[in-house]
C-alpha cells in the first residue's frame, strides 16, 4: 500500500520475550533480520490502486536462515503452514475447509438416499426421514447438498489452482525480465483487469455452446487471472534487485531456475493469499453462474440447487429448506477461506492482529480510585 510506513519491518517479529501474545510466531530468526525496502520508485501501476492490504504488507521475504538451507517452495510452504496454524482464526478456517474437503471426498459414499431419485413426498419440510426436506420432485435435499459439495469444492479448488498458476507465470515473468516482455505482459494484464469480470464471464458462458462446469471453469480462468498477476509483478520487481538474485545470476543459474526456485519461494505468502482469495471468488461466481442457468442444470451442485429452487417457485411456496442449505454451505466455506486469508494478513502485518488489551494494562490507564485489583 502506498500509505505504509517506509521504515523496515521484519515479517517475523522477534517477540520471543512476550509469551502472553497469542498467535505470535515462535520461529527462530537469524541475527541479521531481513530489512524490507518498500518499493519507492515503483508507484505507478503497481500498488497505487490495490484495494487490499495484503499486497504491500507481505513485502518482506522469509527469514534469511533459508538462504543457507535449500530454499524450495516446499520448505516455505511448511513454514507458512506452521505459522498459520498458530493463529487462532486461521486455524478455525483451516478446520472448516478440511471438513468440507472430507465431506466432498467421502460424503457421497455414505449417503442413504440417491440425490437424483424422485419420490412421492414432494416439498416436505425437514423431518426424520428427510433431514433437510424434499424438493418439488421428491428428491432429498440433504443428499443433494452432500453430493453437490463434491462438485462445487472440486471445481472451485481446481479453478483456483489454474488461475493461481497462470497469474504466477505471467506476474513473475513480467517482473523478472523487465523491458519489452514486461511492457507487453503488463499491457495484457491491465487490459484484462479493466474488463468487467463477472459480466464478461456471463457473456462468455452464455455464448459458448457447451454448458457445464468445465465451461464455467474456463470462463472464470479467463476473467480472474489478472489481479494476482499484477500483485506478483509488483513484488517481483522489488525482489529482482536483491542480493540473493544477483548472487544466483552470477553463479550462472538460468532465468527459469531463478524465477521459480529463488524468487517464488520468497513470495509464497502472497501466492497463498491470492490462491485463497481466488477460490473464494470462484466458488461464489460459479454458484452465481449456475444460478442463472449457465452451468449444466442436470448435474447436482450448490448452484444448480439454487436454479431449480427458483425455477420451481420455492420462494412463493415457502420451501425455504431448498435454497437455504446450499447458501449456508457457500457462506461457511467462503467465511472459512476469508478467515485463512485474514490469518495470513495478520501474520504479515502484526499491527492488524486484534487482541483485547490485557486487564492489567486497562486498569493502569484508569484513575487510581477506579482501579480494581487484578491478578497478574
Amino acid at each position: 500500500m502506498s500509505t505504509q510506513s517506509p521504515s523496515p519491518q521484519p515479517l517475523w517479529s522477534r517477540d520471543e520475550q512476550n509469551p502472553d501474545r497469542p498467535g505470535q510466531s515462535r520461529v527462530e530468526v537469524d541475527d541479521i533480520a531481513p530489512q524490507v525496502v518498500m518499493p519507492s520508485g515503483e508507484k505507478a501501476l503497481a500498488d497505487v490502486d490495490a484495494p487490499e492490504a495484503s499486497g504491500g504488507a507481505l513485502a518482506a521475504p522469509m527469514p534469511g536462515a533459508s538462504s543457507f538451507a535449500f530454499a524450495t517452495v516446499g520448505g516455505r510452504l511448511a513454514d507458512l503452514w506452521n505459522t498459520l496454524t498458530r493463529n487462532r482464526k486461521a486455524a478455525i478456517g483451516l478446520l472448516i475447509v478440511a471438513l468440507f474437503v472430507l465431506v466432498a471426498i467421502f460424503g457421497p459414499i455414505a449417503l442413504h438416499h440417491d440425490p437424483n431419485a424422485l419420490s412421492s413426498d414432494t416439498l416436505q419440510p425437514p423431518s426424520a426421514a428427510h433431514w433437510l426436506g424434499t424438493t418439488q420432485t421428491g428428491q432429498d435435499v440433504f443428499s443433494q447438498v452432500i453430493y453437490g459439495t463434491r462438485a462445487s469444492v472440486f471445481w472451485g479448488f481446481l479453478t483456483g489452482v489454474l488461475v493461481t498458476v497462470l497469474s504466477v507465470i505471467v506476474g513473475l515473468t513480467a517482473g523478472y525480465f523487465g523491458g519489452v516482455v514486461d511492457e507487453v505482459l503488463s499491457l495484457l494484464t491491465n487490459v484484462f483487469l479493466v474488463l468487467p469480470g463477472l459480466p464478461l464471464a456471463i457473456v462468455l458462458a452464455s455464448f459458448i455452446p457447451v454448458r457445464g462446469p468445465q465451461t464455467v471453469a474456463l470462463v472464470l480462468l479467463i476473467t480472474s487471472w489478472a489481479w494476482g498477476a499484477r500483485v506478483l509483478r509488483a513484488q517481483t520487481l522489488t525482489m529482482r534487485q536483491r542480493d540473493f538474485v544477483e548472487a544466483a545470476r552470477s553463479n550462472g543459474e538460468n532465468a527459469f531456475r531463478i524465477i521459480f526456485f529463488e524468487i517464488l519461494p520468497n513470495e509464497i505468502a502472497l501466492v497463498a493469499a491470492g490462491f485463497v482469495g481466488t477460490v473464494t471468488y470462484v466458488i461464489l461466481a460459479e454458484a452465481g453462474l449456475e444460478f442463472i442457468g449457465l452451468g449444466n442444470v442436470t448435474t447436482v451442485s450448490w448452484g444448480t440447487m439454487f436454479y431449480w429452487s427458483l425455477n420451481n417457485d420455492a420462494l412463493l411456496l415457502g420451501a425455504w429448506w431448498w435454497f437455504v442449505p446450499p447458501g449456508v454451505c457457500i457462506a461457511l466455506l467462503g467465511a472459512a477461506l476469508a478467515l485463512i486469508n485474514n490469518g495470513i494478513d495478520e501474520i504479515a502485518n502484526p499491527k492488524l492482529r486484534t487482541e483485547r488489551k490485557p486487564k492489567a494494562l486497562k486498569e493502569a490507564g484508569k484513575a487510581p480510585q477506579e482501579r480494581k485489583a487484578v491478578a497478574l
Binding site: M1, S2, T3, S5, K43, A44, V48, D49, A50, P51, E52, A53, K89, L187, N190, V191, V194, L195, P196, L198, P199, L200, I202, V203, L204, S206, F207, I208, P209, T280, L284, A287, G288, F291, I292, G293, F306, L310, L315, L316, W320, F323, V324, G327, I330, A331, L332, L333, G334, A335, A336, A338, L339, N342, D345, N349, K351, L352, T354, E355
Partner: protein, 323 residues
Amino acid sequence: MRQLLRRIVFYIVALWASVTINFIIPRLAPGNPAQALMARFQGKLNPDALHALEIQFGITNESLWTQYWDYIGNLLHGNLGLSITYFPTSVASVIAQDLPWTLVLVGVSVVISFVLGTLIGMLIAWRRGSLADSVLPPFMILFSAVPYFWLALILLYVLGFKLNLFPLSGGYNTNVSPGLNGDFLASAIGHAILPALTIVISSIAGWMLGMRNTMITTLTEDYVLMAQAKGLPEREVMYAYAARNAILPNITGFALALGFVVGGALFTEMVFSYPGIGYALLQAVQNSDYPLVQGIFLIIAIAVLAANFLADLVNTALDPRTR
C-alpha cells in the same frame, strides 16, 4: 504529464480491446441472431423471412474484416442493433430505458455503503482493543463471504413474503402511471428498499475492513503522534490527520466501485426482477438475444473504463507521491 499521456493511451487500447472482444464473442456461438429469432417463432414464420431478418440484423456473408469495420462504424453512429427479445425495439432504446433504474438503485446503495463502512472502519480502528474491534472484524469477514444473491433470496423470503413488509418484485407498482408524480416516486422507492438493503449489507464489510486496515497502519505514523503531542483534540486528530490519509485507498476503491455500479448488481436485480440492466442481461442471456447481450456488455465495459480513468485522475490529484 507523460504519465497522464501513457494512461490515456492505455485506456484507448483497453477500449479498443473491449470493442473487439464484444465483436468476437457472439461469433463463438453457432448460428446467428436471425436464426435464433426464427427458432423463437417455432415454425410459425415463413422460412423465406430468414433472409429478410438477416438483412435487418445486418448479418452478411462478407469477410470478418468488413463485418468488423461495419460494426465499428455502427457503434460510432450509436447503432447497437435490434433486440430479439423485444423485437423490433432497438438495443439502444432498451438500454436507455433500463439504465436509469440500475444507476439510481446501485449508485445510491454504493454511496450509502461506502459512507457507513468507512465511518465504522475508522471508528473501530481508532478504538483498538475495544469490544467492537475484536467482535466486528471477524463478524464482517463472515458477512463478506455470504453470496449476495442468496442474501437477496433470504431477505425477499423473510421480509417480503413472510412478513409482507416490502413488495416482492418489480420496480414500481403497475397500478401507478410512470412519471414525476408523488405516487410513482413513493412506489419506486418502496420497491427499491429490499434490493438496496441487499447491496448495502453485502458490500459494507469490504469498505469497513479496508478502512480499518489502512487506518491501523496510518495510526502508527509519526505525524499522528505529533498531532496528539501538540494537544489537539482526539476528534480532530482522528478526522483531519489519520482518516484523511487512510481514506486514500478507499477513495480509489470507491471510484472503481462506481464503475461496477452499472454491472455490479446483476444477481440482485435478477432475484428481485428489478427492471434494470442486470435483469435485461438475464433476459437476453436466456433468450439467446445476441445483440442485446453485446450492447449491454459494451455499456458496462465503457462504464468500468471511465470509472478506472476517473480513479486514476483522483488518485493522482490526491496523492502527491504518485506524480
